[in-house]
């Protein structure tokens, strides 16, 4: 047996990571899925790679570089779409590739080999530091407080922005703050699931939740639960099978989604047949 203490710490780290990832991804994911911002979120995710590259090159924490890049690009797209001077999907597409290009250039220019690069692309629980877990924990608290305090305002603005403008002067403030928090959530979860896969961590749980409910607050709760089941199961499988954790988590979540969807359909068909027979 290997050292128990190492194993114990590793499990705690994984468990806390799963809890915080599910909370942050559940809250942020419900917002982006219902506001149809999934593509924008993909743009933010990939643009943040530019920050990672610059972080490596400049010798600062790449997560900080990614956070700055992610937030700026998110606010930029939100701003451009408000002004409607540019096609939003094109802007996102350009941003997406531009961020990746900057990242690749700066990592190429950085002397020496970057062993952790793959962990940013695909995620790795092995390279997740205590600081990463703490940051995700703080992010969870911030999001819970923010969504708890402003639940209705956030819900109504994202449901019908132009109507909200007739009674609230703060529509843009809320949109920008929420978008910045979403960007930060994505960047912090990159350490868990990787740039390429993190978006699914946000989008699959709300889609599982929406099978059961159409009430916003319940979608959030179900998303967090589904996210936790998916991440913790994926984590355990990845540990024993020795495969990358990000890919395992996403694979698990999609399998859960498919199974629930199929079961739900079968139940619906059976219910229909039963009521038909009764008639």
């Amino acid at each position: 047996m290997e050292g128990n203490i190492f194993q114990y710490g590793f499990i705690i780290k994984g468990l806390l990571g799963a809890v915080f990832a599910s909370i942050t991804a559940g809250l942020a994911g419900t917002y982006i899925v219902s506001r149809r911002m999934v593509f924008l979120s993909g743009g933010i995710t990939h643009a943040s790679f530019g920050g990672i590259g610059i972080g490596y090159f400049a010798g600062i924490n790449p997560v900080i570089g990614a956070a700055v890049f992610g937030i700026l690009s998110a606010l930029g797209v939100e701003y451009l779409s408000v002004k409607q001077k540019i096609r939003e999907d094109s802007a996102i597409g350009i941003l997406w590739a531009f961020g990746m290009a900057i990242g690749i250039i700066f990592i190429y220019l950085t002397p020496g080999y970057s062993p952790n690069l793959m962990s940013y692309l695909f995620g790795s629980i092995l390279t997740v530091t205590n600081a990463d877990i703490i940051a995700l924990g703080i992010m969870s608290v911030i999001l819970i407080v923010y969504f708890g305090a402003f639940y209705r305002t956030i819900l109504y603005i994202s449901f019908d922005e132009s109507f909200a403008r007739t009674y609230s002067l703060y529509v843009d403030v809320f949109k920008y703050i929420t978008t910045a928090l979403i960007a930060l959530t994505i960047v912090l979860n990159i350490r868990m699931a990787g740039i390429i896969l993190v978006l699914s961590l946000l989008t699959i749980p709300p889609n599982i939740a929406m099978i059961f409910t159409k009430v916003y607050s319940k979608i959030i709760l179900w998303s967090i639960l589904a996210g936790f089941i998916g991440t913790s199961t994926g984590y355990v499988i990845s540990y024993y099978a020795g495969i990358p954790v990000g890919a395992t988590i996403i694979f698990t979540l999609v399998i859960i989604w498919i199974i629930i969807k199929v079961i739900y359909q079968i139940i619906r068909v059976l219910n229909k047949e039963r009521t038909n027979k009764q008639e």
């Binding site: 209705r152 009674y167 609230s168 009430v215 916003y216």
Partner: protein, 248 residues
């Protein structure tokens, strides 16, 4: 008599394009005014000026204190911009009309929820409080948005072409409902469909860059010249109609 709002030589523009010019207009608390005129004539702009979404480029608009404090103006937009596939319930949408008098951080109280329930029943949406919008018919959807406009008990209700998405079976009920509401609030109803404006309207405001007010229920063929081309009313008889006086 105290007016809910008064406009004096008011004008409004989009950039250099003046949409409303020299508007003098008053609304009192029992008014039910049909706002008619051609597309692009400035009807919706007039509502947006009242809502404060567009600042007048000239002249002034004076609101009665009732309109400034608390629940003031209810608004039913032309087409709902809300995404009907958004995960939001009927009760939630109606409650969102309360936000006008709420601080951004406050939660809905039990009395707010009771009020939402009362509005739901008043508008014939009983049992649908927890339905999502994509389960509703067009007429039900419109009643939900009307509920959102009236839950705050506004003194003034603005309706922007409500006929556009009313289903015909509900249309009569809808205008009956407006007549009831008019007992407790003034109504300003925009319609481009002059032939189909409700008989419950008490007076008319013709808007085509300028505004001509017809205090009583009168109508004129000349008034239709606001359309910029000769038009006529087509009916099969027996339809009550009103003739307004020529614009002076």
């Amino acid at each position: 008599m105290s007016y809910l709002l008064e406009m004096y030589s008011l004008s409004a523009s989009y950039g250099t394009n003046m949409v409303l010019h020299d508007i003098n207009f008053k609304v009192n608390e029992s008014d039910f005014i049909g706002v008619i005129g051609p597309n692009g004539g400035g009807k919706t702009t007039l509502l947006k000026v009242i809502l404060g979404l567009i600042k007048p480029s000239g002249g002034k608009i004076i609101f009665n204190n009732d309109l400034i404090n608390g629940n003031s103006i209810g608004y039913l937009p032309q087409i709902s911009t809300g995404d009907i596939n958004y995960p939001v319930t009927v009760a939630d949408v109606i409650l969102s009309g309360m936000m006008i008098s709420k601080r951004i951080i406050s939660r809905m109280s039990v009395s707010d929820k009771k009020r939402a329930q009362a509005v739901i029943e008043e508008l014939g949406l009983s049992g649908m409080a927890d339905s999502s919008l994509n389960e509703l018919s067009g007429g039900q959807l419109q009643r939900v948005f009307l509920g959102r406009a009236i839950i705050g008990n506004p003194k003034l209700l603005l309706l922007d072409e409500p006929g556009n998405f009313v289903d015909s079976t509900f249309e009569n009920d809808f205008y009956e409902k407006l007549r009831d509401l008019n007992k407790r609030m003034a109504i300003l109803m925009v319609s481009h469909d002059i032939g189909m404006i409700s008989a419950h309207v008490k007076s008319y405001a013709c808007v085509n860059r300028e505004l001509h007010y017809h205090p009583s229920s009168e109508i004129s063929n000349e008034q239709l010249l606001a359309y910029g081309c000769p038009v006529q009313l087509i009916t099969h008889g027996e339809v009550p109609h009103t003739v307004l006086k020529i614009h002076s």
